[in-house]
């Protein structure tokens, strides 16, 4: 206990007494944005394709990271609830695949239309619904986004046409939804 207290006080006192040189070196080790190279696509009947480089700013990076972390924690919790039989029926999780929904949302506008298959929780979150509404829907409560009547695969939001229970059903519906 005493050793722990001593260590804590050392860390705290040490933090407030950083030498100026250390701060200067530290600031030069972090960039405010990062540039990524994207593989060029083959083009068919197009003059130009999507851009080959993109820049991710610090704010965006932190925003996406926060979104991915939220989705991860929500999915892990859903996993736990499913194993406790508080969520029944089907529960298709996307922990580990958060970058798909967050990255996709980063590339589109809120006015674009989105439809997906059954692994829909991450997309429901990135399309604007709260974690509370999603978990309430999974547990079949009336506070859920579909009043508890849809469950894991039937969550809808503005410009989001849901998950689909039938494999492949979203392909044809997607062509109809496109403006």
């Amino acid at each position: 206990m005493r050793k722990m207290l001593a260590a804590v006080s050392r860390v705290l006192s040490g933090a407030s007494q950083k030498p100026a040189s250390r701060v200067l070196i530290a600031s030069r080790n972090f960039a405010n944005d990062a540039t990524f190279e994207i593989k060029k696509c083959d083009l068919h009947r197009l003059e130009e394709g999507p851009p080959v480089t993109t820049v991710l700013t610090r704010e965006d990076g932190l925003k996406y990271y926060r979104m991915m972390q939220t989705v991860r924690r929500m999915e892990l919790k859903a996993d736990q609830l499913y194993k406790q039989k508080i969520i029944r029926g089907f529960c298709h999780l996307c922990d580990g695949q958060e970058a798909c929904c967050v990255g996709l949302e980063a590339g589109i506008n809120p006015t674009d239309h989105l439809i997906t298959a059954y692994r829909a929780h991450g997309f429901t979150f990135t399309r604007g619904l709260s974690v509370r509404e999603i978990l309430a829907e999974l547990t079949g409560r009336k506070g859920g986004c579909a009043k508890g009547k849809g469950g894991s695969m039937h969550m809808y939001a503005k410009n989001f046409y849901g998950g689909n229970g039938i494999v492949g059903a979203q392909v044809a519906k997607d062509k109809g939804v496109l403006p």
Binding site: H113, I115, G144, C145, A146, K147, G148, K149, G150, G151, H154, Y156, Y161, G162, N164, G165, I166, A169, V171, A172, K173, D174, K175, G176, V177, L178, P179
Partner: protein
Amino acid sequence: MAAVSGLVRRPFRQVTVRDAINQGMDEELERDEKVFLLGEEVAQYDGAYKVSRGLWKKYGDKRIIDTPISEMGFAGIAVGAAMAGLRPICEFMTFNFSMQAIDQVINSAAKTYYMSGGLQSVPIVFRGPNGASAGVAAQHSQCFAAWYGHCPGLKVVSPWNSEDAKGLIKSAIRDNNPVVMLENELMYGVPFEFPPEAQSKDFLVPIGKAKIERQGTHITVVSHSRPVGHCLEAAAVLSKEGVECEVINMRTIRPMDMETIEASVMKTNHLVTVEGGWPQFGVGAEICARIMEGISKKPVLEYSQAQIKRLKLAFALSQLSLPSPRSCIQFPGCSCCSCHWC
């Protein structure tokens, strides 16, 4: 022949069922620019059965769309479009082909309003000829009234004459729910008298209400689609023998108008149902079951000591295997029965 709306209107002119549906669709396409028609051969060919004649010339490629032979594909596209806010009319060349797309009709269209907790409606109409035609054999002759009538979330209508056809297609297009309209190919060319009120652009036949085509006192005959005509012919023959039949045209399969049927059975105490579908789990079976469960909450046996019989007509030839005026005449002696072909 140009689209019928261009013709001069006179009281009680003869209009075929085909022209009535054409008129109904034309008026709704004009009224609301979100309405559009898609299906096989609906545009350049003027419709496989010429039901959409003249519409492509009038409204163009964006409103009348020819699709490839892929029912699952274009039914899915239509459902997606309906979810995004348009009002599609999806034509199946016959409802037998709708089996290819039945997943989109039931799982994507019918169930969505419920499963989204009321958030996502699907204002779509699926229409096309249903039931038997002339010699097209088993794979092209199935009646889907019972299959679609089974599903909550769908409304199912089945017109008989021109007035029904025009009024029901207009009501179906204006309804925000998925509606299946089961027409009949053999009725398309049949002309009927079109009353003056049916010539109005706002003429609607309410979904969920049956019509008593002929008043009677001795026996109630309930039917939908083409067999209604057979029932009326049979009723004319029977009335010469002193049996007055009350013929009810259901018009809507789901939600079924049991009040009209019950009121009639309470008056006559006899019931015959006639349909083109198979007997087991059919429309007639449902009517008989509901009558048995109770009129005014009293089981029917208590009320009138009626017997329920289901009679199958085993005819050898396909022409004779459908309800015909002759088969309708054979059965009024029973208290309560369903006629089907098998």
